[in-house]
Amino acid sequence: MQDVWINGTAMAQTGRHYGLNADEMAARVLEEALKDAGYPEIEALFVASATAEQADKQQMLGAYIASRLGLDKIATYRVENADGSGGAALMAAAMAVRSGLYNCVGVVGVDKPNDVLSNQQQDIYSTATDAVYERYFGVTPAAQAAIMAKIYLAKYEYKYEDLALWPVLMHKNGASNPYAYMRKQAKVEDVLESELVSDPLRLYDVGPMADGAAAVVLCNKKGAAKLLGMWTSTSAIPFNNRPDYDVLYSAREAAERAYRMAGITPRDVATAEVHDSYSIFGVLAAEALGLAPRGGLLAALKSGADLKVNLSGGLKSRGNVMGATGVYQAVEVVWQLMGKSPFKRVDGSIGVVHSMGGVDKVSTVMVLGL
């Protein structure tokens, strides 16, 4: 079984990229990652995208990205697990290298949600929910996140003001990330005064959708960082029949398995990037990763604990780049471990990525080490 290393990394600033087609945006970033890796020959390209089909009406995006770079004859695969596509594509790519079939592969995540209007973004985002039993009735991920937030806050006797600490932390972290979409600090009052999206969640609890592309090159030879552990897990329990609403089952299982594979415990984690499409998911993901006990993350925030989670600013501040998110997270964690400018070096050599599709449907957790 081959070891898998990250040999090259690149990402585009998130935001509104009205001037670029999705395949061009992805090709530019992939080219940067290939350059960073010293231009190894890649034999396959794994593309993560959640909106290419519905927003840009483009299937088989990998073939078109390959065209823009003249990567003739390579294999291309698009992997889609809604907003968890990034983690899924990274997993598929890592397994491909481990299989021995390829020496080097590219992974590029790209999404351009701003190619459509904001209501249409909601339409597309809702296709991650069950089309028949949820989306049909107007249910969106936001509504499900809101119900989970209500239950979590009530169960652990927090106030909404406590949850507001999450977006405040994210804005603080994101303010120093030049790749982020929202680069200004926020105060608790800003959060409390923002408009309600789905009570108790307000605008500041929602990661704004942003266009973005990020890429990594994975090889079986030594590179900047090594993939120490990885696992993907699905929660097959329908939202309406969850025993508990204050836990992310998929994240918890994926983390346990990935940690076991890497031989680490949560204490070893110097930095983690988690999928906080809604602030409550950031809280629950951090708990699922063992960075705080169940129900304890907001207490830790309140007590001023120095949590090394979403130093990028997370989906709230870096932006929710949809299917590209997991690839951004991997790049961010590698740069944080390396102390690659503009990111500050974290105190430790192990970082974790949590990529999630839908509301606790599928999570991928990857452990990266220097």
Binding site: N119, Q120, Q122, D123, S126, D130, A131, V132, Y133, E134, R135, Y136, F137, G138, V139, T140, A142, A143, Q144, A146, I147, K150, I151, E195, L196, V197, S198, D199, P200, L201, A236, P238, F239, N240, N241, Y245
Partner: protein, 132 residues
């Protein structure tokens, strides 16, 4: 969003109109949405099971940012309601959100869910309201 698929709507009418779930003939477990196989005991023998039309509110939220088809109905009250052996997620109507609270009695009503703009197809389904 276009609700383009008429077959998709049509085939789910038993669920949408009558809240039909599946029950395992062997172990009695009830599934909504239905399963292809009992996930508890593994039996493939499943029968239709009519969910009760009264139950209890578990939790709810008032959703203000809605998909295109629901813009005219905004905001939507989305609630999780316990109906016998399962919980069901759906819209709550005929209620003032500020008066709703977990634990209260709810009942099932049938209402128009969405009107497809392109084909004028009117699609119906269950919703919930507080029991008077």
């Amino acid at each position: 969003m276009e609700h383009e698929s008429v077959p998709l709507y049509w085939r789910n009418i038993p669920a949408y109109y009558r809240l039909v779930a599946k029950r395992c003939k062997k172990c009695g477990e009830v599934y909504y949405p239905p399963v292809v196989k009992c996930t508890k005991c593994g039996s493939a023998e499943l029968e239709d099971y009519q969910l009760p039309h009264e139950g209890e509110l578990v939790e709810f939220t008032v959703l203000r940012s809605v998909p295109t088809d629901f813009l005219k109905q905004k905001p939507l009250v989305i609630g999780l309601v316990k109906l016998g052996p399962v919980k069901v997620l759906g819209q709550i109507v005929d209620a003032m959100p500020e008066k709703l609270k977990p634990g209260q009695r709810m009942e099932v009503v049938f209402r128009r869910v969405v009107v497809d703009g392109k084909y004028g197809l009117v699609m119906y389904g269950y919703k919930f309201r507080p029991r008077p």
